[in-house]
Amino acid sequence: MIDTVGKVFRITKVFLGYSLQKAMAYRVNFFFLYLAVLVQSVGEVILLNVVLNQIDSVMGWGVYEILIVMGFAKIIEGIAWMVYRGGLMDFSENIRTGDIDNILLKPLDLQFLISIENFAFEETSGVIAGIVFVVVGVVGSETVLSVENVLGAILALSVGMVFHYVFRLVYSTVAIFTTALERATVLDVKFFELGRYPVQIFPRIVSKFLTYVIPIAFVGTIPAEMIVWGLDLKMVITGLVIEIVLLVGARSFLKWALRKYEGVGK
């Protein structure tokens, strides 16, 4: 067990080092990716300002509270791009070309390998922007933080993070059966943009669907609710149950799909 943990740590360190070297080889690109996030963040703030210019709140959410929702969504997106999105996208491509055979032969868990092989340090900009949004939102809404609220928000955020990861993993694993979706990699990015707004703006049935069935609400809305309005223990427990079901389900799906893999390359 200790050997395995040590091996995982060493492999992760190697991938991190390689990814950092890759990022620093194209410094101008690195700078422009940071600039892109800055431009996007400014645009989102302007949009929010324009949209909510004439009213104090929408469905109980004021400008600063919505900023907190957006901030949490950006943190999740930033971590996703930083840690596993590149690797999982490469996984789909590797399935198509047959290069996955090289990965399957390695003496390490496949899910771990495909998830961490492609760190993107330039995506730290998204995480930083998200944190700034949350901080500005908390200060602007004059929210008083407590240990329970912050802990609740972190737990809710972890559910959102897991959902995001599982969605991407399943999406990539589908490539074993069909390449029909291979080029349509933007779908998950666009889908998760729904999480940037409070789910209460949707009709009630859609809002419930986005909370309990496809839990996009955990990407932004529920962590923001925990921070602003306090810990909801029932929601945290529900979230943790969803988290476990998603992780077990996704891993089982991956293992089952790999048993069907024929390795012909396409």
Binding site: Y26, V28, N29, F30, F31, F32, L33, Y34, L35, A36, V39, Q40, G43, I46, L47, V50, V51, L52, N53, Q54, I55, S57, V58, M59, E122, A180, L181, E182, R183, A184, V186, L187, V189, K190, F191, E193, L194, R196, Y197, Q200, I201, F202, P203
Partner: protein, 275 residues
């Protein structure tokens, strides 16, 4: 026999082949196309419901009714999909991989070859956008009662057509950046979001205020999305159409001039090594 006319037919035929190939390619990946079109609408679902929540709460957005904003939101996604052209990735790819050489040694103009390839996307995206746009409006259940004027419809179509050329030329310019930078993803992401914002894809640009609004409304990016939709919504008078037509001509002239200048410089810089 009119050889000059035959010559022109022959020239058009080779470019039309690119157009045909592009359509064939996209029919090969039908599901991909459908997903790409669908994914363009997904985030705007949220925006539409946000507008509705604002109006239900007794607020309003500028001088627009909820129906205006619903139509604007759906049309902005559709127009963006149809007229954006987005040739920059293809151009950059050709430069980086050295494939540009294949085009340069052939008896064709690379700019127009790429144009006709991108043009092939339009029929498919129009069909996809029409179907999905109608579906979204149906689902929202909004009573759409916009004043459709003949001049508005005519200028909507005219401005949309003109913006295809303008947007293509702009995206070709962005693509030429690849002649000077090895890794261009960061640059393109910056450009992509900025252009999307300045085109009015997220909200009507007249909601901005002050000097910033005046600057944005003088730039060419609004001509692809904001201007045609506002024309269709019947919010322009004849004098506005004349001013906007002048703006189209001016920016098309400037951008094509820039393309010519940059392309000449870029060819001197091109090494065809492939990366």
């Amino acid at each position: 026999m009119n050889t000059s006319f035959d010559g022109r037919i022959c020239v058009m035929r080779k470019y039309l082949l690119f157009f045909k190939l592009s359509i064939q390619e996209y029919f090969e990946y039908r599901v991909n196309m459908l997903v790409i079109v669908l994914s363009g609408f997904v985030p705007f679902f949220a925006t539409l419901f946000l507008w509705r929540a604002i109006y239900d709460a007794g607020g309003s957005v500028g001088n627009y009714t909820l129906a205006d904003l619903a139509v604007y939101t759906v049309l902005s996604v559709s127009l963006r999909l149809i007229t954006s052209m987005e040739a920059h990735f293809s151009v950059a790819d050709d430069v980086r991989k050295g494939n540009l050489s294949n085009y340069l040694i052939k008896p064709m103009n690379y700019f127009w070859a790429r144009f006709f390839r991108r043009l092939g996307l339009i029929p498919i995206r129009i069909i996809g956008s029409l179907v999905l746009g109608a579906l979204f409006l149906l689902v929202l259940g909004e009573e759409i009662s916009i004043n459709l004027r003949v001049d508005g419809v005519i200028f909507f179509l005219l401005f949309s057509l003109l913006s295809v050329f303008l947007n293509y030329a702009l995206s070709f310019l962005y693509g030429c950046i690849a002649f000077w930078l090895k890794e261009i993803l960061g640059v393109y992401v910056s450009i992509w979001f900025t252009v999307k914002f300045l085109s009015g894809t997220f909200f009507p640009l007249d909601l901005l205020g002050g000097l910033f609004k005046n600057i944005v409304l003088a730039l060419p990016f609004q001509l692809g999305v904001y201007v045609p939709i506002i024309a269709l919504l019947g919010k322009y008078e004849m004098v506005d159409y004349l001013k906007l037509s002048g703006l189209y001509v001016f920016w098309t002239f400037v951008v094509f001039l820039l393309v010519g200048f940059v392309w000449k410089k870029a060819q001197n810089h091109y090494e065809s090594v492939g990366i």
